[in-house]
Amino acid sequence: MSVTHDARIQVRAAVPTAQRPIVHGWPDINNPAAWIVAAILLIMPLIANGFFLIEIFATTLILGTIALSLMFLAGYAGMVSLMQLTIAGFAAYMVAVFGVSGNANISLGWPWWLAVPMALTLATIFGTLGGALAVRTEGIYTIMITLAIGAAFYYFTNQNWAIFNGHTGINNVSTPHFWGVDWRWDIPFYYVVLAVAAICYFAVDYISRAPFGLALQGVRDNPRRMAALGFNVNAHRVAAYAVASFIAGLAGVLQVWNYRQISPGSVSVGACIDILIIAVVGGITRPIGPYIGALVFVLLRTFALDFLVKIGLDGNRFRLLIGLGFLAIVFWSSDGVIGLWQRWRQSQRPRSDRPGGGRGHG
């Protein structure tokens, strides 16, 4: 036995690797549940009316994608950022400012196919700069800095009239029309949102097994050792913010098209924290978690009101239910709903079947 001295020589001494799946296929290709979910999502317009399609499912996918960007940072790189909604909101504002809206004195009137890339670029730069500040800190201080950026942006949009139109925000933002389709009609818009969410989901899942994603997980587990293996840890962290900002920016574009308006209320500190709650409730170890969390959140937000009124409480107390649910979940499962699900699945199967790692897709 010898430890050879050089990677080039080790290549020739390699053991057969056929038994190990180096290249993982699409994550859930062997999972029937995933196929069923995908099929339901695709035929959703046949089973759901406009209200469910947009207010429940499209909204879930948009919020889920913002929370996915947080999951990417927190789950893989170990950085909890509270500014992901702020980045989405910034992209939404930029679409309104560069594109066409009811506020002609502010909007520049660019077509959507110019306004959207501009908005995404600026949102990515904004998030990357914020990240470059945040990576100088760790743990609770990262949370504080990103929360401060979120709070500063909220108050800035409230008070700036030249670009952000103060507390009234920007209204009647126009949405894309081409190929004879108004892409904000319920069904086309649902598919646009589904496509963007699916691309982001699969991209995050794919990157998690690529060198960049593995390096982030190394940074999460032991930044000092990563430096001692030749990695520039802070460069990786800033790059992670860039990727997460782009994802959040995409969701922000969808959000402004969804509501056709953007105002400071959409980028409030409370809304920033909602994203954290969504991600934690769903589970931050896997990309599917944020979407599950978003579905729980949207369902509660939409229906808890009726339920609370029915039992004689103020409908605005839906946050009470969300808060109780949040407490229950972090109390019983540090890995959110997917953690509970996984544990239930494992209790259903014989011991020998259990996956060795925590990264299988179930």
Partner: protein, 260 residues
């Protein structure tokens, strides 16, 4: 042969590692005081000394985990005193940690793959490694070399202590190391595992030099050709293993004098 190398190292040229007057203060405490060491390429040296002698601080200064307060560090002639750790690693320096510093959430294979990737290009690659990825094969060979092939798809958090120590060594041997710092690699290993460790160290290619911190004399003195004794942050004595072992002062301080 040796005399030429020694003469070269005496003037500093051609040294793998050269420390001049390295001092490291932690507040008022001097963890290292005026340490000057020259190590030839391929030389294998043990650093001995009681707890608190400054051995690990010495490693931290060499790798840049903590920069020295004063003094210069040269690695193969290049002044790396102010380089960040990753720049030193990319130049062929490696280290292991006294307390395993691994990535518990990743598999054994991914740990080693990261080590291989860290000293090559494509650290930011968004593309998954393919079937014939050279670094994947390099990682396979390293995993095999430290006898971890059977557990390579297990998460590191699930490994036994001895296996983690072996992985710790594998991470330090990725790529093309030129000089390795081993910080108590035998800590907590069973006698069988110690024998395997000695085998791994003695079978390293001749051009890879190392410094090893090790309390177990059976391990330390079997795998080195020179010894540096440290005491209270200073170099106390240098010599070949036999000299050090028979030196009365050394015996009093360290070998026979009991541990602090």
């Amino acid at each position: 042969m040796d005399s030429v190398a020694q003469r070269l190292s005496a003037v500093g040229a051609g040294a793998a590692l050269e420390l001049r007057g390295v001092t490291r203060l932690f507040g008022a405490l001097a963890a290292l005081t005026d340490v000057t060491i020259t190590v030839r390429p391929g030389e294998r040296r043990a650093v001995l000394g009681s707890n608190g002698a400054g051995k690990t601080t010495l490693f931290n200064c060499i790798t840049g985990d903590f920069p020295p307060t004063s003094g210069t560090i040269r690695f193969f002639g290049e002044d790396v005193t102010h380089f960040p750790p990753y720049e030193r690693i990319r130049r062929g320096l490696r280290r292991t940690y006294q307390i395993s510093a691994l990535f518990p959430g990743l598999t054994v294979q991914d740990n080693v793959y990261l080590a291989c990737r860290g000293v090559s290009r494509g650290r930011f690659s968004f593309l998954r490694p393919g079937q014939n990825d050279a670094l994947m094969h390099a990682a396979d060979s390293l995993v095999q070399a430290v006898h971890l092939t059977a557990v390579k798809d297990q998460r590191v958090a699930e490994l036994a202590h001895g296996q983690q120590r072996q992985l710790e060594i594998a991470l330090a041997l990725a790529g093309a190391p030129r000089f390795v710092l081993f910080d108590e690699p035998a800590a907590g290993l069973s006698p069988t595992e110690r024998a395997e460790l000695v085998e791994i160290l003695t079978s390293l290619p001749a051009h890879i030099g190392y410094i090893i911190i090790e309390h177990d004399m059976d391990v330390a003195l079997r795998v080195v050709e020179s010894v540096t004794m440290m005491h209270n942050g200073r170099i106390f004595k240098e010599g070949v293993p036999e000299e050090i072992q028979s030196d009365p002062e050394v015996q009093e301080l360290y070998l026979g004098g009991g541990h602090e």
